[in-house]
């Protein structure tokens, strides 16, 4: 309990240092572009593949469960759309990104800590927390919503491919996708995504930044980063859903 409180305190102390004015804006902007590439663009492949197949599977499973002749076929498209927009794309994709991006951030910053690169930054007079962590947070909060929107689109495309295999006509599937669409669902999904992006990058950075020891501890920090950012993400998923939809 004491360790948990200490960690939470240390996390907020770190955030205070992270959210300070950058030393030099030109270098800071370059770092953001670099992080967008590392965190965002490099995650595009995995997001595309997972979204395509999960979209198809969701459609097939829904079709399998809605086999009653009294239920219209377009409901399959509707269920696929709502599953993807409300939960799969914002939450599941962010959980996957917590694994990919979170472990990458923690191991990168952790390695810098144990090889004294962070100390070198501090001695140069650079606020290392601000220089290393803030660009990652901004890059993720900016780019993750694009990844989630892409995921929704690709997921629906995968759903359409899946619908062909379960004898749902394209017209029925598209009708279901458009049926009683509530645009607030997108707002809800993107709000969650931005919060999740902050959680993933800040929690992972925290575990990397306070790594002590050597290569073994970097591995431990990386694992902790994924586990804790996933847990916090799920807790906030519940809180945000309560606040925005209930």
């Amino acid at each position: 309990m004491f360790t948990a409180l200490k960690n939470i305190g240390q996390y907020f102390m770190m955030l205070r240092r992270v959210f300070s004015i950058p030393e030099k804006r030109t270098i800071f902007y370059k770092q953001i572009i670099l992080e967008i590439e590392k965190i965002g663009i490099n995650s595009l492949g995995i997001v595309l593949i997972i979204s395509l197949f999960v979209g198809a599977v969701v459609t097939i499973q829904t079709a399998f469960n809605l086999s009653s002749p009294f239920l219209p076929k377009y409901l399959i498209g509707l269920a696929t759309r709502d599953s993807l927009i409300l939960e799969f794309s914002p939450t599941m994709i962010c959980l996957i990104l917590a694994g990919k991006v979170g472990s990458n951030i923690a191991s990168e910053i952790g390695s810098m800590r144990v090889t004294e690169q962070i100390d070198a930054l501090e001695i140069m007079g650079v606020n290392s927390a601000n220089f290393l962590i803030l660009p990652k947070i901004i890059a993720a909060m900016f780019f993750f919503p694009f990844l989630v929107i892409i995921s929704m689109g690709i997921g629906m495309f995968g759903g359409w491919l899946g619908s062909i295999s379960v004898d749902v006509t394209t017209a029925d599937f598209l009708y279901g996708l458009k049926y009683e669409f509530n645009p607030f669902y997108i707002t809800y999904a993107l709000t969650k995504t931005v919060v999740f992006a902050f959680i993933i990058t800040s929690v992972s950075s925290f575990y990397g930044y306070f790594t002590k020891g050597g290569a073994l501890e970097v591995g431990v920090s990386s694992t902790k980063a994924v586990v804790y950012s996933s847990v916090v993400l799920l807790i906030f998923n519940f809180i945000l859903t309560q606040l925005l939809l209930a």
């Binding site: 030393e23 030099k24 030109t26 270098i27 390695s111 810098m112 090889t115 004294e116 690169q117 100390d119 070198a120 501090e122 001695i123 140069m124 007079g125 650079v126 606020n127």
Partner: protein
Amino acid sequence: MITVESINKHFGENHVLKDMSFAFEPGKTNLIIGESGSGKTTLLKVMIGLYESDSGVVKYDDRNFTEMHFKARKNLRKEVGMLFQGGALFDYMSVQENIIFPLNMFAEKSEEENLERVNFCLNRVNLENTNSLLPSELSGGMKKRVAIARAIALNPKYLLCDEPNSGLDPKTSILIDNLIQEITQEYNITTIINSHDMNSVMEIGDKIAFIHQGKIWWSGSKDDLISCENKELNDFVFASKLFKRLRKKF
């Protein structure tokens, strides 16, 4: 001049630095020697604020570093160059990017002037035409030399080196030692080196402090060191057969 006054530092129950006081000579190469785990690195890290001491004061030319606010410390650190044991080069940056980084960050100069300075520093450490190499492509000695080039890029007043020749062969060690010595004299820098390499001590030590049991046990010049009768110091300095034989000759 850098002075430490009554520095105490604990790690849990372990009292690493015990009421340590010392004045490092300005414009000279000061060496801190002692066994592994004696507190050399801890002292260096306390001096630069990477560790907070439990009590005591660190002064840089009468400026009280210990009581300085975060921003004032940050400004003072710009006057300090530090060479870490492993070099601490930024992995994802090339040699040129590593050296130009502090210049881009703090020197209000054009890109061309900064590049000129990078090339000057690289020439100074005899590493011409290595600008585009990554740290992973460098040997141990080259990494140390790039780290020296980065440390001197901003014309520091003080240079702190944590075991600069650990893990290097004797020839490269002497090369690094001499380079640090030359730079110290050329730019009138106050240099402090942590070392347990006796070759370094004999080669470049202007003033030597021996740490034992968390205290400055002995201090003096390298000539004093050879003739000193302090038992603990002699046990440390003349531990090898070679040095024992040499001592007999003297």
